[in-house]
Every structure is written in C-alpha cells, then in structure tokens.
C-alpha cells in the first residue's frame, strides 16, 4: 500500500472489516426514510382535500428536513458506535502490533479509519434521503423543494454527526479501553453543562444580585457536542450555522489527528492513553463531583456541616472511582492522595468564593465615569402586559417570534439619568450590612435547621427584584438584580418610569413610524373594531391617532398607569396587518393578541381622537340581557388552635367563596361599579386583596355573535337557559365590602 492508491486499497479493506456497520446503516436508514415516507404518503389521491394535501406535503418535508428528531437519535448512536468501532483496534495489543508494523504511516491509517466511518453513514443516509425525496415528490411535494430539503437535512445532520463522531474518536484515542472510552465520550458531552449548572446553582444560592441564568445556559450549547447538535434546531439553516459547524468539526478533526499521531502503541489496554491527561481529568471531575455533593447535601441539610459532608463524600467517592478505573484495580482506590486533597481544597475554594462572596460580586458597583450607559428593568409587576418579539418574513408570510421581556428591555432601554440605577445599587449595598445582622439573629433563634441557604431566607415581604444592566466604557456588560423591602422603591420606580430613555426602550410603539400605520384595532371591553377595515378611516387619520397615542404614552406617569384602562389598541403596519388578516394560515397564529396597548383614562388625546373617529368607548350593557352574576372573593382560611393554654386563631392560606346574584337592584349597583376583568393586567403595581370578582352571565343571543364568540363558551343553567360568562371585578370599597358580607352570609346559611 505504499503506492498512490493506498487510500482506496485501505478503504476497501476497512469496509470489508466493518461490513456489519455498513449493513446496519443501510437497514436503519432504509426503514427510517423510504419506508416511513411510503407509509406517510400512501393515501387515496382523489379523496384528499386541499388542506390534507398541503398537510401531506408538510409531512414529507418535515421527514426530510434537518428537524427530523429521529435522525438526531440515529446520528448520535451511530457516532458512538462507529467512532468506537473504527478505532477500537488501538485498544488491542495484537491489532496494534499488526497495523503499526505494516509499512503504512499512522496518518494514513487515521484517514482510512476516520473517513470510512463517515462514509458508512453518509452514503446510505444520502441515498435513502434522495430516494425518499423522490417518493415524496411522487406523492405531491414539489420535487425541487423536497430534494433541497433532503440535501439541507443531510448536510446539517452529517456535519453534526461529524462533530459527535470526532468527539467519540477523540474519547477512544485518549483512552485504551472501550468502556473507558465510552465514559470519556459521556464526560465530553456532560462535563461542562454540569459545570455550568453547578456554577448557576451556586451563584443563585449564594449571590443575591446574580441574574445571569440565561447567559450561562446559552453557554451550554458551546460546551457540549450533543447540545451543540440540538441547538441547531433553533431557526433556519444559515451560512453561519453551517460555517460554525465546519470550523468546529475541522478543529476536532485536527485534535483527533494529532492525538492519533501522538498516541503510544503501548497504551492499548490501559485506562488512559496519555499520562499527562490523567491528573487533569481526575482533578476536574473530582472538583465537580465534590461541589455537586456539597450542593446536594447542603440543600438537604441546610447547614455548613452537611455542606462539608457532601463535599467530602462527593469528592472522595469520585476520586476513588477514578483511581479504580485508571488502575483497573480496586486496591488502588486511594492512590494519589495529594491530588485528592488538592481537589477537595479546590472544590471548597470554589464554594467559599461564592458563599462568602470573596470576589465582591454583590457589592460591586461600577464607577460612574466608567459607565457608558445603564438599563433598568423595574420588575415584572410594571408593564408586565408588554409583548416583545420580532417579525420574520417567509415565503410572503410573516411570522411573530415572541421574546422574553427581561432581555429585550435590558437591551433596548438606556436611561437618560444613569445615576438612578447607580443610586439604587448603592442603596442596596448599604442595606446589606444591616440585613446580615438580622440574618445572624434569625439563625441564632432558629438554630441549625433554619433555612439560611442563599436568598431563600427572608424575614419580611420583598418587592419583585429590579434588574440593572451596566454597559461599561470598556465594552463589558454586567447585570445585577436588587431586591428591596416592600414599599421602599416606589419613589425610585416612579423616577425610572418617567425617564425618557426608559420609555423609549420599553415601548417599541414609540418608535413606530405613523406613516406606516395601515389599520388600527380598538377593543373596548372585548368589543373590537377595525378602524380602516370596518369603519373606512383614512391612513392619515390613523397616523394622527398613532401620534396622539405616542404623545400620551410619552407623558404617562407611573400613577397614570395604575388606573383601569378604558380600552386597548393595536396599531398595524403592513406585516402586522398580514399576520392579523391571514388568520388560519400557518404563520399567523403566532401573533394572536400580541402588542395590544392600554388606553388609560389620562390618555385624553387618544380618547378624543377615538371619539372623533366614531369609536364608541362606553358600550352599554343591557341589564335585561343578564341572567345572573356569579360573585366570588378570596377569604382567609382560619382555624382555632391552642397556644400556651389559650385558644387562638391561625390563618393558613386563602379560600374562594362565591354565590350567584339574581337580585336586579344589586345587579344594577354592581353594573355601576364593575370594571372589565381582562384589563386588570394593565394596572401597574396594582394589588387589591379585597376585590370581588364578578362573572356576568349574559343570555345567549342578547348581543351580537361577535362579542359572544369572543368571550367564553356557552353554558347552560339548570332551568335550561343558555348564557355565556364575562369576567368583571369590583374594587375595594363599600360595595365590595357589602358583596363580601353577602358571600359570607350565604355561605354560613
């Protein structure tokens, strides 16, 4: 094989050697693709309706696409099987003697064994994917699209297979035993995700201001080949996605090639191939296991004794297991005691760094001159109704992709007055010394069983946390979370709320071009109107309406936003209009009721404009159309208990009690004060423990179908009357008090 055709000659021999793998792959892919395709597409063409035909095409493309989950499973299993079987000969001294004594360079053996593993999967998968695309085309799918989808899926899965397969090869090359190699593959795929989870858990438990959960989770996909594979499901196949996988694959191949070249032949049969990697891997795993043990027992026992016990058990057991594996000898379990002690100390050091905040993470506040800009997310209790997302255009259709509000707001908001955030941080840090004393007292009172783990200990009610993002001049971005006792923040939140930089980032509608508005949806207590579509209002008037709303929104104070909204409104540009009008189409369902904004009573410009455009903002509900009103409220659940010889009342939770109101006079009074239930979400920082919920049961056919279809399913009373319920509520006050008394009266009787 010293001639130029060494590759083909070697491949022939290698494929003969691994004929079982070739047969296995052909059988698996045959049943996974063409057989499934035939099964899915075997329909009576003439009986298919158009939607069924479209669904069939969707099924065909889904089977061929890169999102076929079964192929992921197959690829993962095959990567391990072929990676291990291809290079397992290195674990046998006989085979190493045989192959390495032949006049063929090791690089050539690597190429032959490596490429054969790829081809064993690539060829049957490619062949059967193409055949399946052809079958799909015969069933009605566009041939070009089916073939293109199959090719894209094949390319993506093969690239991901290459990464997993090369990882398995690296695991085999770094070990001298097949079982240890499989363990190595498992470690490569899980070590760093577990590391990040432990880091996350420690930070969440020990650091009060830590809020980097999402950013840490984002790293998981970069630290595990399998997670990297799965993460490719998000979004479409892009050049970046393919390119990054090619780069990662190339780097892994390079590592594997170097390891293969450096791997000593005498490593066959040993646990680990390279002596240098032994202490590194041992220490890394023992530290992680020790921290995991610490966290487990700390969360169970809740005190430092249990934490140390967990650290010792996790660390020592993992060290012993590794030593047994390294030496294949149980008696060697306590070898390398020095490294074990070092690992335990390192694990404790990691824990100590978090527990006592040795790095000063919580108390860190950037200097004002180092801060380029700052963003604040006050809490989920303020503007929690806001919807964020982005619109993707695909084949002439638009699709709404929802986003989490925290990340979006922190990215978009930039306070005009950055000292607001810095003062907030300083206030929090200043309070920490006092709180620490309170905590210590509590521990002394409650003893070792007290829950003192991280932030789970609280002695009083706290506001929802305020999130701050510092963007430093250096380009670094740091996020912190601050939590204050209830009521302490109202002044500061009002100031943040009125900061122009806050509103600009918080409400994307402020940035909407008035000329782009094509229609406006106005909904008043569930009755929706399309201003252009139904009332024929001109685009110029719609633009004016948006300007009015933007002006009201910009002037709004936190106090204004605590009122009950009069209506809700949604401005539609071309893309949004298509999403709304295309109801029922594949991509339109995603938009739903997103991006409705409240119209508060103080939005006088908007209210005036709506009235001028002929929108009825006070729809009258006819009492005669109401069958009954179901009134319900929350009451504390209590019981009498004996305390130190005396009977006392103890409260434990809430219970909901209700009755059905049919008295017309009372119903009329309720009508006068009740507020539309779904608009409660627009009331910032609004909590009313004494509110009374009222479910108004409206007789079927009493109002237009549109209204009744919009809100609730029909129900039938015992007397056969059909009605549908609409939710309202009555705020705390005389009527609410009276209603609560009536509930208790009915309940007690």
């Amino acid at each position: 094989m010293t001639s130029k055709n060494w590759f083909f000659s070697g491949m022939i021999e290698e494929l003969k050697r691994r004929l079982w793998a070739v047969a296995l792959c052909f059988v698996i892919f045959f049943f996974s693709l063409p057989v499934v395709m035939v099964y899915c597409t075997t329909r009576n063409e003439e009986l298919l309706t158009q939607p069924e035909r479209e669904a069939l095409v969707g099924d065909v493309l889904s089977l061929l696409s890169y999102r076929n989950g079964w192929i992921i499973f197959l690829m993962t299993v095959l990567a391990v099987v072929l990676g291990v079987s291809g290079f397992a000969y290195l674990n046998s001294r006989r085979k190493v003697d045989f192959y390495h004594s032949l006049p063929i360079r090791r690089e050539k053996w690597f190429v032959i064994h490596y490429v054969s593993g790829l081809l064993i999967v690539a060829v049957p998968y490619g062949l059967f994917a193409a055949l399946s695309a052809q079958i799909g085309a015969m069933a009605g799918a566009p041939f070009g699209e089916a073939m293109g989808t199959a090719l894209t899926g094949w390319a993506y899965h093969m690239l991901s297979f290459l990464i997993l397969y090369t990882t398995a090869v690296i695991a085999v090359l770094m070990t001298g035993n097949t079982i240890v190699g499989l363990l190595g593959f498992w470690v490569f795929n899980t070590y760093f995700p577990i590391f990040l989870l432990l880091w996350q858990a420690l930070a969440e438990l020990c650091l009060d201001t830590f809020c980097g959960f999402d950013s840490l989770i984002g790293w998981v996909r970069k630290t595990s080949p399998f997670a990297y594979y799965i993460s490719g499901f998000d979004g479409d196949i892009t050049p970046g996605k393919i390119g990054s996988r090619i780069v990662v694959g190339a780097v892994l191949i390079l590592i594997a090639a170097v390891l293969h070249k450096k791997r000593p032949s005498e490593a066959a049969g040993k646990a680990m191939t390279f002596s240098l990697s032994q202490p590194v891997i041992r220490i890394l795993i023992v530290v992680e296991a020790a921290v995991a043990g610490l966290l487990f027992f700390w969360s169970l026992g809740g005190n430092m004794g249990w934490a140390i016990f967990g650290l010792l058990t996790g660390g020592v057991i993992s060290h012993c297991v590794i030593e047994i594996i390294y030496h294949f000898d149980f008696k060697k379990l306590f070898s390398h005691k020095g490294q074990m002690v070092f690992s335990l100390a390192a694990a404790f050091g990691v824990f100590a760094g978090f527990h006592w905040d040795l790095t000063g993470y919580d108390s860190w506040i950037p200097k004002e001159e180092n801060v380029a800009s700052v963003s604040v997310f006050p809490s989920y209790e303020i503007d929690g109704w806001m919807d964020y997302g982005w619109i993707e255009e695909k084949d002439g259709w638009f699709r709404w992709h929802a986003q989490g509000s925290l990340d979006r707001v922190l990215e978009d908001v930039s306070l005009a007055d950055k000292t607001l955030a810095l003062d907030l941080a300083k206030t929090w840090v200043g309070q920490q010394g006092q709180e620490q004393e309170v905590r210590t007292d509590a521990v002394m009172e409650n003893g070792a069983s007290s829950w003192i783990v991280g932030t789970s200990w609280r002695t009083q009610m706290y506001e929802a946390p305020v999130y701050v993002e510092y963007r430093l001049e250096s380009g670094k971005i740091a996020r912190r979370k601050y939590q204050f006792p209830e009521g302490q923040l109202s002044g500061l939140l009002a100031a943040v709320y009125e900061d122009p930089g806050y509103k600009e980032g918080r409400y994307p509608l402020l940035g909407m071009d008035p000329a782009a508005v094509k229609d406006v949806q106005v909904s008043v207590c569930g009755e929706e109107t399309r201003l252009a579509g139904e009332k024929g209002i001109s685009r110029q008037e719609l633009s004016g309406l948006l300007k009015a709303y933007q002006a009201d929104l910009a002037d709004m104070t936190l106090a204004d936003s605590q009122a009950s909204a009069e209506a809700e409104i949604r401005f539609l540009d071309e893309a949004r209009l298509k999403m709304v009008d295309g109801e029922g189409e594949y991509y339109t369902w995603s938009y739903g009721d997103s991006e409705f904004y409240p119209v508060y009573p103080t939005f006088t410009r908007t209210l005036t404009a709506l009235q001028e455009l002929g929108v009825d903002l006070e729809p009258e509900m006819d009492l005669a159309a109401v069958y009954s009103i179901l009134v319900d409220a929350e009451f504390p659940r209590e019981q009498e208990v004996s305390q130190e010889g005396e009977i006392a009342t103890e409260f434990y939770g809430q219970r909901s009690l209700s009755y059905e109101e049919t008295d017309r006079e009372m119903m009329e009074r309720i009508f006068g004060e009740m507020l539309y239930g779904p608009y409660r979400r627009y009331r910032n920082l609004w909590t009313d423990e004494n509110q009374v919920n009222t479910r108004v049961n409206i007789l079927a056919g009493a109002v237009g179908d549109e209204f009744s279809e919009e809100y609730g399913d029909y129900e039938q009373a015992e007397d056969g009357v059909t009605y549908y319920p609409v939710n309202y509520y009555v705020e705390d006050g005389a009527l609410a008090e009276e209603l609560r008394a009536r509930i208790l009266e009915r309940w007690n009787s």
Partner: protein
C-alpha cells in the same frame, strides 16, 4: 544491517529495554534469547516500528525505522500472537498483504498453504494455534522482505513443522539473503538455526556473539591430572568442578591451545566435550556476574 544505539523503552516505572546497543548483520540468523519479561518482545516491537523508543535509535542501513514506509517495507513482523483480518481467510490475507508488500509472492503463498495443509478459503478464526503460527510464517516468508522478525514463532509448532519452517528460512536465506531475527526463551530451539545470539535480561543485553565463535572458543574439559600436578597456568578457566581426582573445567581458548596445555601438564586422561548453547550461556553469564541458572532454566 539493523543497528540499535542506546535503545531504551520504559513502561511507567519499568525499564523494558535499557540502553541496548546491538548490530544484526544481513544474511545471518539472529537469535534473541532471554527469560520471560526480559524485553525480547519489546525489543522486536521497537525494531518493527510498532513502538517509538524513549531514547536511542533503531536504523536499518542507517535509516530510522519509526514511521518510515520505505524502511518498514523491508521487514515483516510476526508477533507472538499474530492478528489476522477479522473473519478473514488465508485468501483474504493474500489480497491484503499483496497490496501492502510489493514483492509478495502469491504463487508461492498458495503452494505453501497447500504443502502445510491449510485451506485457502477456511476462516482463520477456526484454525488451531499451530495452524495460525504456520499461516503467519507463510505470510512472512512470502512477503519477500529482507528481514523477518519472529516473536516466539516456534512456540506452538510441532517438531516436524519446526524443521519445515527452519528449512524454509534456510532456503530464503540462501536464495534471496533473507535475515530472520528470532526471539525465543527456548535456547535449544535456536541452537541449530542461529548464527548469532543476543542474550537479553531485565531490558539489557548481556552478550551478543556468533554462535560458532562461542562454540570454538569455549570448551568443557574432563581430565585426571598426574599426582601433584596442577591445572595448567596458561588456561583461562571459567569454571572448575572436581569429583575425586576427576576435574571438569570450562575453559576459554582454541581447541588446539587447550589440548597442548593439557598434554604439557601431563594429564593422565583428558577429553574435550562440546558445550550446548545453554551451557555456554551459563558460563558466560556467570562471568558477567549473573546467576544464569535462575535466568535460563
């Protein structure tokens, strides 16, 4: 010529091959002897480029062996437990080696298979240990390489086969100058085939000499000297035993020199008895300070 200079290989704390300097001349049979664990297999694996030396060099005609295809194509290595292609037959091995060794003689391979009674299409996995050894030797001989490295190859062959293989070696040595290097712990087997012998012990080489040279330069003499006579001063006596008046001497020197010395000493009776390879090694290694009885027997 194969040459090793300061060849060293360590496995963790164990020095398997310890600074071995040796020369293996072309056209001779080199026997590598030693006890189990002496480092014979490791030495051969270093020679064949299976392992990379920790120190020192292995060269064939001045060219390093490790990862050199042109150099490695000059030898064939038969390990003590030879591997064959999975599920393969002798016919498969023919195709395989035919692609690797350009001078592989397929015709002769088939003939030898037939002579040895090995079916060409039978799965090797069903062969006995001895049959596998035979097949390995046939592959090695037909590869047409200049050197043939054999690790315990004769172990497991019946006496007839051993003789057959030896004659095959002799034939190839004569016809195309093949140089077999044979590692074994059995000195008696090597005695009638080796030209040159190297003794390994604990990774080091105790001695390396031509067998003929050893045999002609060392003798066992049984003699009875005249009353009051002493062992001739001119003799280099390595070992001396006495039983009554009967002396058994192991002496170094040419046969004629020894005979003249005995006659001049007025020996009543003397007889020169040829030494076996084992006895030569015992004597030589005792001189070197080793208790060879523990090493070889």
């Amino acid at each position: 010529m194969i040459e090793t200079v300061n060849l060293t290989k360590r496995f963790d704390d164990i020095v398997a091959v310890d600074h071995i300097c040796a020369q293996i001349k072309d056209g001779s049979v080199f026997g590598l002897v030693g006890t189990n664990g002496a480092g014979k297999s490791t030495f051969l694996r270093l020679l064949s480029g299976v392992m990379r030396p920790d120190e020192g060099t292995v060269t064939i005609d001045g060219k390093s062996v490790y990862e050199r295809e042109d150099v490695k194509s000059r030898f064939f290595y038969i390990s003590d437990d030879q591997h064959f292609l999975g599920n393969g037959t002798p016919a498969d091995m023919l195709k395989f080696y035919g692609r690797i060794y350009p001078r592989f003689d397929g015709e002769r391979y088939r003939k030898l298979l037939s002579s040895f009674g090995l079916a060409e299409r039978r799965k090797i996995a069903t062969f006995s240990k001895g049959m596998k050894k035979q097949l390995a030797v046939i592959c090695g001989i037909c590869a047409g390489t200049d050197y043939l490295f054999c690790d315990e190859t004769f172990d497991g062959l019946d006496p007839v086969m051993r003789q057959t293989v030896k004659s095959l070696f002799a034939n190839d040595m004569e016809e195309r100058g093949m140089t077999p290097i044979i590692a074994s712990h059995n000195l008696r087997e090597l005695e009638d085939i080796c030209d040159h012998v190297g003794l390994l012990h604990r990774g080091g080489i105790l001695l390396s000499k031509d067998l003929d040279e050893m045999k002609t330069s060392i003798h066992k003499v049984q003699c009875v000297l005249a009353e009051g006579a002493e062992v001739p001063a001119g003799l280099e006596v390595i070992r001396q035993e006495s039983r009554g008046r009967l002396l058994t001497l192991t002496v170094r020197g040419e046969r004629e020199t020894v005979e003249r010395a005995m006659e001049s000493a007025g020996a009543v009776f003397y007889e020169l008895i040829p030494l076996s390879l084992e006895e030569i090694f015992i004597s030589e290694t005792e001189v070197a300070g080793y208790d060879i009885k523990k090493l070889v027997f």
